[in-house]
Subunit: 267 residues, 2 copies
DNA sequence: CGGGACATTGATTAAGATCAATTTAAGTGG
DNA sequence: CCACTTAAATTGATCTTAATCAATGTCCCG
């Protein structure tokens, strides 16, 4: 029986030594940690490092780290659920997730697949309650950012406020583009667009943009792109036949990036 | 013949004396002004009135008004264009608009149809350049809110900051719902969902939720909902045949709101 | 009154949904 | 470690919805 430890993180002991060092063996399938990369490149939306960039450098980095504690989420578990009160935002440090909504009649929609660096929880800001479920696609680690702390920080620091605003605007712009994808593209173009997005984000975090592993199921992809899972599967097959992709289950290899771009960027 | 005034319901002369009065004859087709309604009900996302709600009440309303000057936009004209530098946000005071993106290959997507009270320009926050065209569907009036003034205000006032955040989150949540509509609903359900949204917003501003005039063309609706304009037309016809709607070109009458809701809320 | 934008309607086609059957991989427990 | 169970993915056959192509109708504005 697959009993999951509901008292989260497996991890013990290693926290005692250096705060930011992790033994990745504990989660062998987990992506390597890239906190510095994310923070130093300024790619993260809002992180403890980013938050301090423009603030008084006398503030101890360590204390800032302590202010945003880590939390592990195991594969399949939810970081938060629709209806929960918004208390924290979360920065995804390692791993990946899906953000999904379910209507009162049970229709599901996967809105996005956040990866390391992403800021989660913004969907709760409108009403004070989350409107989505945030579910880990693999064992993942987040930083917990108390929302009202963040607001206070924004109040003290225009830079942080602008950064938060940009993070929110980025999500909105991403959705607006996704609307276009769903409204005007056929299944091949949707899949191409989807893969380009993932490819780009992989590159952003220093991984191969050509070869990677999809962390989500065909059903998740279908639910994200407004298709049926059979159509997703068939589309992968067709793109493989066209020598644009090599697909082996979740493992993906982009053979013809130009052709993929031509498809995914719109007609 | 059942001719309905295509302008929004008139607001009785309360604007004649004070500084917010306009001679609507200049723009004969323009909706009556509803500044007080929008502001006082707290329905606007961010307005000069809202911005002062929690701040020092000694601040003159007049000076605040002066800080956010009016601007008229004629039907078909754009308030801003994709690529323009973000300088201002705009609060739509009267009238309505469409927000649309066009890709490099010319694919168009109408992301939303803002109505009075809406805050426009948020799409420019991510990069500092607008990513959409904001086009007036009728002669409309906006309040011009310099973005960096607003940021400064947010800095001074947590309430304003939260309000701006909520406005952005609201837009994002709206898009997320629209994704679900496009991903999982058939044409009847999409149209139903679309009409429910408009109906609700009409009610919010004190107009009839049952009977109203669509300010946009069939092509705009189609482009918004990921359909072809012929399909939009046919769907209206079918909903009329089912005694759910009365449709006469742009004029719309909801005969069976429950049936419409059943369709639009998902299966 | 006439021209153009907008809308409706009809006939046909094509893309993707649906229903259904296998195949493959990954655990689980004996 | 291997048989067994289950989740995920692929593939095939058929059907349905909406796209497409085309023609006509209607209203508004100059």
């Amino acid at each position: 029986m697959n009993t999951i430890d509901t008292t989260y993180p497996p991890v013990e002991g290693h926290q005692s030594s250096n705060q930011d060092s992790f033994s990745t063996e504990i989660f062998p399938n987990t992506a390597p940690l890239i906190p510095c990369k994310v923070a130093s490149m300024g790619l993260c939306s809002v992180s403890e490092a980013c938050l301090n960039i423009k603030s008084n450098s006398n503030i101890k980095y360590a204390s800032s780290t302590a202010a945003f504690p880590r939390r592990w989420v195991r594969q399949g578990e939810s970081l938060y659920r629709a209806g929960d009160a918004l208390i924290n935002l979360y920065q995804l440090y390692t791993g990946s997730a899906k953000l999904r909504t379910i209507t009162c009649v049970g229709t599901e929609q996967v809105a996005e697949f956040p990866m390391a660096g992403a800021l989660l929880g913004l969907d709760g800001i409108e009403t004070g309650k989350y409107t989505c479920d945030a579910i880990a696609l693999e064992d993942s680690m987040v930083r917990t950012i108390p929302f009202f702390d963040l607001l206070a920080r924004c109040n003290a620091d225009t830079e942080t406020a602008l950064r938060l605003n940009k993070a929110m605007a980025q999500e909105t712009n991403h959705y607006r583009h996704l609307l276009l994808v769903l409204a005007s593209m056929n299944s091949e173009e949707r899949i191409a667009s989807f893969l380009l997005d993932i490819s780009e984000r992989m590159a952003t975090y220093g991984y191969s943009s050509r070869e990677f592993v999809l962390k989500m199921t065909r059903a998740d992809i279908a639910c994200h792109l407004g298709m049926k899972l059979e159509t997703v599967s068939r589309t992968f097959t067709r793109l493989q036949a066209a020598h644009i992709l090599d697909v082996d289950r979740r493992h993906l290899n982009i053979r013809d990036h130009d052709a993929l771009r031509k498809l995914g960027m719109g007609r």
